[in-house]
Every structure is written in structure tokens, then in C-alpha cells.
Amino acid sequence: MLQFIKEGLSGRNGQYFLIVAAVMLVAPLIFWKLDLPFAANAMLLCLMFSIMAMAWNLLEGYTGQLSFGHAVFFGVGAYTTMILMLYYGVTPWVGIFAGGLVAALVGLALGVPLFRLRSHWFALATIAVGEIFKLIFISWDYVGGSAGLQSPIVPEEQKLYYLQYAGSYVYIYLALGLLGLELLIMYPLVRSRIGYYLQAIREDEDAAMSLGINPFKYKMVAMFFSALFTGIGGGIYTVRFRFVDPFAVFDLISVSVYITIAGILGGIYSFVGPIVGSFVFVPISEYVRVYVVSRFPRFYGLHVFVLGVILLAISLLAPEGIMGWLEKKGYLRKREEGGEEG
């Protein structure tokens, strides 16, 4: 595992990575000093969607399983963190990871029936699963039903335990840490034998099977990590927004489809594509939402319309996404994909 990390940090791509990481670490301080809450909030959402889109891409880009149901894992993660904190007084420091783990278990349970389906049937079934979860949580009183749940209001000295800070500044570092953790796990994973198995399944499932790869087993591995980090994204949502309701967290459009847009826009065949995609589409959407839609509620929906235009443009003009397009044009050197292990 260490050798992959060392390898990833070497060379030109490694230098880019270190520069971007340094900028990300300094940016919230600048936002805080200059008092730019909008920029800080947008950056937090960018990071949250980066974490989830990268997790989603392990299933779509690497394994070829297009999911429109990642709102399920996001919602389960958000609710788990919230319920542990509200009913049992468990700190979100633990709750976020517990949420990820519960989401991963839900993912494994859903994988058993869903991975029997292929291509668009899988995509359709994940949409239906998302709707089922939303409807169940709406009528489940323990989790607050359609009204949802709200974080407890805590005294000043417990704010570290309950992770309650004003604004987005502190949460950016939380999200950065979790994104770092995800990179530490995902990068070795996709560079290892398993990563190549997943790509073989994506390219031709029957051929992969004939070479002795068990597609179901490795799809489940991908599902586990995909759901795990999407659930962790839900935990970040809970601590930041302190309010969880089924209509928001299980929403097909504003969760599942947003994650998909981030992945497609950045490029699904690129490891960092989903992060790039998140950092492009979230600021645009947030800008329109905050500066147009919030001021003129009459135009509610405009921010999603803009996303529709972006998604259409990318689907028609550059289906390989931003990173794929940059590689094609020669602005980025494509990393040599050697099979040193497989």
C-alpha cells in the first residue's frame, strides 16, 4: 500500500497534488480572514461532493455500474450520525464513521439483489431503491418521519464534542481530512489488483468471468467502499447543517444526480475527475442558488436548470469529461497504466 502512495506522490502529478493540497489548506484561512462565508460554504460543498462523487465513481468509472441511488447511502449516513448524536449522545467524531459503516452494510445488502442486473436495469433499480428509502423514512416515526431530526443545541464548552461551529470554516478541515483519508484508501485500491479486476468487469463482464474473476465478489468490494464514503459524506452534511429530513437527503435530483453530474463532468475514467467535476459544478450551482434563487424565490429551480444545461453540454460535446478532454488535447500527460501486479 505504501509503495502506491509513494509512487502517487512522485513525478509531476505528485507535485500538482501537493500544490493543490497546500492551496486547499490555506484557502479557508483566507476566507475566514476576509469574511467570505459564501466561498467557505461553497468550498465545503465542493469537498463533500468530491468525497461522494469519487466514491460513486469507484462503482461507475471503474466497475461500470451506473448508480442513481447514492442518495440512499448519503441519507443513511446522515441519519446514523444524527440519531447516534441525538438519541445516544455519541460524538459525531465517531458517528460520521459509524454512518459510513452502516451505509456500507446497507450497500452490501442492496448489492445482493441489484448486482444480478446489468447496464441500464441496474441504473433503473437504483432509482427505485432510492425512492423506497425516501418513502420508508417519511413514514418511520423513530427517525422523525417527514419532519426530520434536528441536532441538539449544546453549551459552548461541548462544541468540540458535538462538532458545532459557526460557519463552514472548521468543517472544511474536517472534509479535507476525510477526503485525504478517502484518497489514501482509494488510490492504493484502484492501483492494486482489485482495481484492475474492477476495470476488467467494466469492459466485459463475461470475459472477466472467463479469466477467473468473480464479478459479484469484486462488485461487492466496490460497493462497500463506494457506500462507505458516500455515508461519510452524509455525516459531514449532518454536522454542518444540523438538520436531516427525508426529502432533502434521499432526493434523487439534489443528491444522486448531483453526484452523477460531478463524476460525469470531471471524467469518469480519471481518478481525480470527480473532484475536478465537483469543484466546477458546485460553485456554479451555489452561485445561482444563493445570488439568484434566494433573492427571487419565484425563480426557484433555475440553479438545477443550469446544471441541466451543463450536463447536456458535457454529454454531447465531451462525454469523456473535463479530465478526459484535457488528456485528449494533450494538456495533461496521461498516467501510464502499467499492470505491475495484475
Binding site: 436495469w121 438545477v304 450536463l311 454529454s315
Partner: protein
């Protein structure tokens, strides 16, 4: 214990609402069957039909029943435009691009309509909205009854169109074998325009009918699109009346199950049914892609 008259009422109202589901499902099945493209925006063209009816009624006082052709033609034109600008370019693209392209159309129509019309629920009050017929314990609302017969009429007309006209036969030929149809001198590209136009136009008629007895909203398409998917996988492709009957079965299942379980969970039954069907349905009906 639920009384028998409740069940009878639920069955009847299920049939009536199911006839609207059928129209949306038929449109989806036509596009899916002919082009092998899943139109995720199907429910949103239906919403457009409902809003065309609403504006025609509110601005010009046009009776919703008279706006059926209007809503069909406007949506047909939009459908042809969508096909030319979007779908044509992704016909041979990977599945992901096809799905994201139609999802983009969905986002643009649904939220474009929301931004244009406002995020409000609207309702048409037709003069005959409160006319109710009673047969024993069964009561029927006139608008729902009209919707049923109009939907049946549209389905029959569509069936006759597919079976007897040149265009209909050509459409079926294209769906069976695109290359062979092309070699026989059929303009495949034009057939695709017509297929997409009719597919979304029929759904828009469903929207017009729904607008006479249910509130409408720019985001209503999401629910009906999911129902349409259930209708299509249940009824299979190719057969117009297959989709029609299955729409009615879904309507009845939904309204009868609402008697026995909490109404908010009745849609869960429909979605579980959907997943169950695509899991257990044997290979033959769906071609070679599915195991």
C-alpha cells in the same frame, strides 16, 4: 377488515387513474422499443402537457378536453426538436452518455418549467369537476371517467395508426431491424423523429387528462416517470395494449394496496414490484442484455 364495497371502489378508481399511467407508459415503451433509448424525461413531457392545458384553460378558457390535440401537437414538436438536437447524437454513444443526456433534458424541462411557471401547485377547476355518478356503492367522478375514455380512444387510435398506416408499419419495421428498414428505403432518421414526437406527445395527453382532476406541479413528472418505468417493464415492449393493460394493473394494485397499508407506503409496493419484476423476468422478453 376492509369492506367489499371499498375494494370495489378502489378497483374502479385504480382502473381510471391507471388509464393515465398507461398513456405515459405507452409513450416510454414506444421510444424504448424503437430506439433502445430510455427517455428519463418522459414524465416531464407529461408535465408540459398538463401545463399547456392549464395555461390554455386559464388564459383563453379552452376546455381541457379541447386542448388534448393542442397539448399533443406542441409536445410532438418539442419531442422532434429534442430528438434532432439531443437524442440523435447519443444513439450510438455508450449507455452512460445516453442516460445522462436524457437526464439533462429532464433537468432542463422540469426546472426550466419550475423557474418559468413558479414552484407552485396549480389546479384547473372545470365546470363538471363535481359531477359524480353512483352505481350502488361505487361512485365515479366525471373528469376521471372522461379521462379513462379519452385515454382508451388515444390508445385505440395509436394501435390503428401502427397497424394500418405506412408510417406506423415503417415504425414497426425500424424497431424490428434498423438496417433492413433502411435498405427497404425507409427514412430511419425521420422515423426516429416521429417516434420520439409521438412517444412524448402521448404522455402529454396523459398530463392533460390528469390536470382535469388532480393538482399539477412542475415537479410532478418524477412520480409519473417512475410509474411509467414500472408499466413498461411489466407490460414488455412492442405491444401497445400490453403497456395499456399493465398501466391499469399498476393503477389497481396501487389503489387496492392503499386500503391495506398506510397510503404513504402504497408507492413502496409499486417500487418493490418493479425491482422484483426486473429481477425475476426471464431473459427472452428483454433481449440479450440482461441475465
Amino acid at each position: 377488515m376492509v369492506g367489499l364495497d371499498y375494494v370495489a371502489n378502489a378497483v374502479v378508481s385504480g382502473i381510471l387513474i391507471g388509464s393515465v399511467y398507461s398513456l405515459v407508459g405507452m409513450g416510454l415503451a414506444l421510444i424504448w422499443g424503437i430506439m433502445d433509448v430510455i427517455n428519463f424525461a418522459q414524465g416531464d413531457y407529461m408535465m408540459l402537457g398538463a401545463f399547456i392545458t392549464y395555461w390554455a384553460f386559464t388564459l383563453a378558457g379552452v376546455d381541457p378536453l379541447l386542448s388534448v390535440p393542442l397539448s399533443f401537437l406542441v409536445t410532438f414538436a418539442l419531442g422532434v426538436l429534442t430528438q434532432r438536437v439531443v437524442i440523435e447524437r447519443v444513439l450510438d454513444a455508450p449507455m452512460v452518455s445516453q442516460i445522462t443526456a436524457t437526464f439533462a433534458v429532464l433537468l432542463m424541462i422540469r426546472y426550466g418549467a419550475e423557474a418559468a411557471f413558479g414552484p407552485y401547485t396549480k389546479r384547473i377547476y372545470v365546470p363538471y369537476a363535481d359531477v359524480i355518478f353512483r352505481f350502488g356503492t361505487i361512485s365515479l367522478q366525471l373528469p376521471r371517467l372522461i379521462a379513462f375514455f379519452v385515454s382508451l380512444g388515444v390508445a385505440v387510435a395509436f394501435y390503428v395508426f401502427l397497424k394500418t398506416t405506412y408510417t406506423g408499419v415503417a415504425l414497426r419495421a425500424v424497431s424490428q431491424n434498423r438496417m433492413a428498414a433502411y435498405l427497404m428505403g425507409i427514412n430511419v432518421r425521420k422515423m426516429y423523429w416521429i417516434a420520439f414526437g409521438i412517444g412524448v406527445g402521448i404522455s402529454a395527453v396523459g398530463g392533460t387528462l390528469v390536470a382535469t382532476f388532480l393538482p399539477i406541479h412542475p415537479e410532478m413528472g418524477g412520480f409519473y416517470a417512475l410509474i411509467a418505468f414500472i408499466v413498461v417493464v411489466f407490460g414488455g415492449f412492442g405491444s401497445v395494449f400490453g403497456a395499456y393493460i399493465s398501466g391499469i394493473i399498476i393503477g389497481v394494485t396501487e389503489s387496492v394496496s392503499a386500503l391495506f397499508i398506510s397510503p404513504s407506503l402504497k408507492d413502496v409496493v409499486a417500487f418493490l414490484l418493479f425491482i422484483a419484476i426486473i429481477l425475476v423476468k426471464p431473459t427472452g422478453l428483454f433481449g440479450t442484455e440482461q441475465r
